[in-house]
């Protein structure tokens, strides 16, 4: 590598001397070399700079997956700005919230979203594609330019803000520095053993740190990213075959569909060297099918949270023995398991996962109180790292005898029933494995005798019954885990704007009250 890579701009630009003519991005219908993307980056960067966008300014990017989304983010970095990528499935209302909350000075948007901006906004706007909007600059109309001097920035400067939607409250913006992003790319590249001849399929949004890492790692090694805007398993399999994709990252809902499809079609995907999962646990019945359906593919199970950028992974050679574990810290990262007020947990024990080191984000944009609550010194680690702040994940994990970690539950979700601590995730896993339920939410309600009792809210699969599901639970669960009530939903469960189950709402609507007594089972 001829240029020392310290910033997001460097990640891209270090490829230009030697790989200018190499394919960097593949969109449906055409591909783009590193040099072609550089020209687009310069056009947008020149536009932003000419309109007074300065280093440190926030620029919102909400553009459909494709070359222009990537070029928009890189252009913001090129002028020393901070890009705030917003998922295209987010609503107009959420987009406007992020624009306000981040104090954005510019926005690069699709035509529809640009036309729907609130009256009287003071944003510099670039319309990436779609319907043209009167009075706003369109990407197609940008002149060809070449920026003479890139803005240099420090690797400790802010590079990006990633908004995360929790199940409660407004989304919060996690602040990432150039150093966070570059060290994350190096770490992921090392443990996934990525190479310049890799072609990663990008299905996940770049507004999600896990999806964004596919792009940063390919820039680090000079590889290729194939964009797949349609998150349909049938389309994904087609793209993998058509473009000889070597790596693919997905989240559990997508794995469920992908594996079911391969199971039904028997189709082989010989080009695929590696696949990764993050963003939740893949159900065990799906995990069990993966090695047979992807015999020549390394399977990485990972865990992460945006506030600590990258966290842990299970090396593929351990997959067969430890299916479902989240493994241990990724390279250059440090994680500890803490027993509050007691110390560091050892093998066989469980506690809260905390992160320290290079990946720790700068906290939440404009939320010093929330930041201080999430990222703070850890008394149990004082002897090791002193007052260095750590990210409290809120996740309870167990350490096995080899030192590998297993996710147990969110700290605030554990159900305490008749002296047992029960993980709702574990109960949900079992209910899913019955094959009788689609959406499942498990929660605890206060109970005079038990402390808390286990409750299941579920939409049932066709032909399934509450009685059948309960009989299954009685057969496979220890007695303390068997639900005291199963609340059958006959309509879809409410979801958050990002599509996840709105768990608090499901729990509220399912919880027995005086005028809505508990269903007898």
């Amino acid at each position: 590598m001829s240029i020392a890579v310290r910033t997001v701009s460097d990640l891209f630009a270090h490829n230009l001397p030697e790989r200018a003519a190499k394919s960097f991005l593949v969109d449906p219908g055409r591909s783009w070399t590193y040099a072609e993307v550089a020209a687009e980056v310069d056009r947008v960067a020149a536009f932003l700079a000419a309109d007074g966008i300065e280093p440190g300014d926030r620029v919102v990017v909400q553009v459909r997956k494709g070359m222009r989304e990537v070029a928009a983010m890189l252009a913001v970095s090129r002028i020393g700005g901070v890009f705030v990528n917003v998922n295209t499935v987010w609503t107009g209302e959420q987009l406007h919230y992020v624009i306000d909350d981040s104090g954005a000075r510019a926005a690069i948007l699709e035509g529809g979203a640009a036309a729907a901006l609130p009256q009287g906004h003071a944003l510099v706007v670039l319309v990436a594609s779609g319907p043209s909007v009167t009075g706003l600059q369109s990407w197609d109309g940008l002149p060809e330019v070449s920026l003479q001097s890139p803005v240099s920035c420090d690797d400790g400067d802010l590079a990006a803000i990633i908004y995360t939607s929790g199940s409660t409250g407004r989304p919060k913006g996690v602040m990432l520095t150039h150093a966070n992003i570059v060290s994350g790319a190096r770490s992921v590249t090392a443990y996934l053993e990525l190479r310049g001849d890799d072609r990663l399929l990008s299905v996940l949004p770049y507004s999600f740190d896990y999806g964004f890492n596919q792009l940063t790692t390919m820039m680090l090694v000079g590889g290729t990213v194939v964009h797949q805007p349609v998150t349909m398993a049938t389309e994904i399999v087609r793209a993998i075959r058509e473009h000889a994709v070597t790596g693919f990252a997905a989240v559990p809902p997508l794995w469920i569909q992908f594996i079911r499809l391969l199971d039904a079609s028997g189709e082989a995907l010989p080009s695929l060297r590696l696949v990764t999962n993050s963003g939740g646990k893949i159900p065990l019945n799906i995990l069990e099918r993966m090695p047979a359906l992807l015999p020549d593919t390394r399977i990485y199970l990972m865990y992460g949270l945006t506030e600590a950028f990258r966290s842990t992974y299970l090396p593929p050679e351990k997959f067969a023995a430890k299916m479902g574990a989240i493994g241990r810290a990724v390279p250059e990262n440090e994680v500890y398991v803490i027993r509050e007020g007691i110390g560091i947990a050892g093998p066989g024990e469980q506690g809260e996962l905390v992160h320290c080191g290079a990946f720790v984000s700068q906290g939440y944009w404009n939320r010093p109180d929330a930041t201080a609550e999430k990222i703070r010194p850890c008394p149990e680690l004082a002897a090791l790292i002193g007052e260095e702040p750590v990210v409290y994940s809120g996740d309870i994990v167990r350490i096995d005898e080899d030192g590998d970690l297993w996710f147990v539950s969110r700290r605030d979700a554990l159900i305490k029933s008749s002296g047992f601590r029960i993980s709702p995730d574990e109960v949900e896993d079992i209910v899913h494995r019955s094959g009788m339920a689609a959406d499942v939410v498990v929660f605890g309600v206060a109970d005079d005798l038990l402390g808390q009792s286990v409750q299941v809210a579920a939409t049932l699969a066709p032909g399934a019954t509450r009685e059948g599901l309960l009989a299954y639970c009685r057969k496979v669960m220890p007695a303390y885990m068997v639900p005291r009530a199963i609340h059958v939903w006959n309509e879809p469960m409410p979801r958050t704007a990002s599509g996840k189950l709105a768990r608090p709402e499901v729990v509220r609507l399912s919880t027995p009250t005086a005028d809505r007594p508990q269903l007898s089972i």
Binding site: T91, T231, Q257, S265, A461, P462, R495, G499
Partner: protein, 78 residues
Amino acid sequence: MALTTDRIIQNLQAISGYDGVVDPDTCLFSSGMLDSIAMISLIAFVEQEAGIEIRADEVTLENFDTPARITRFAGERV
């Protein structure tokens, strides 16, 4: 209850959180409007409403990209 295009449109916001205007020919997936999480809920909704079981290989743009296509697909399967 038979699955209708109107019922799909009425339920799309609950299923996906999407708050924009949807008509029978709005592209839900090829437009990037819905993601994989919303897709799972949509499939579950169609299975439940139409009383059918949908195979993974049937979830294609041809069958699922618009509310009208979903209704046609479900109608042919019943």
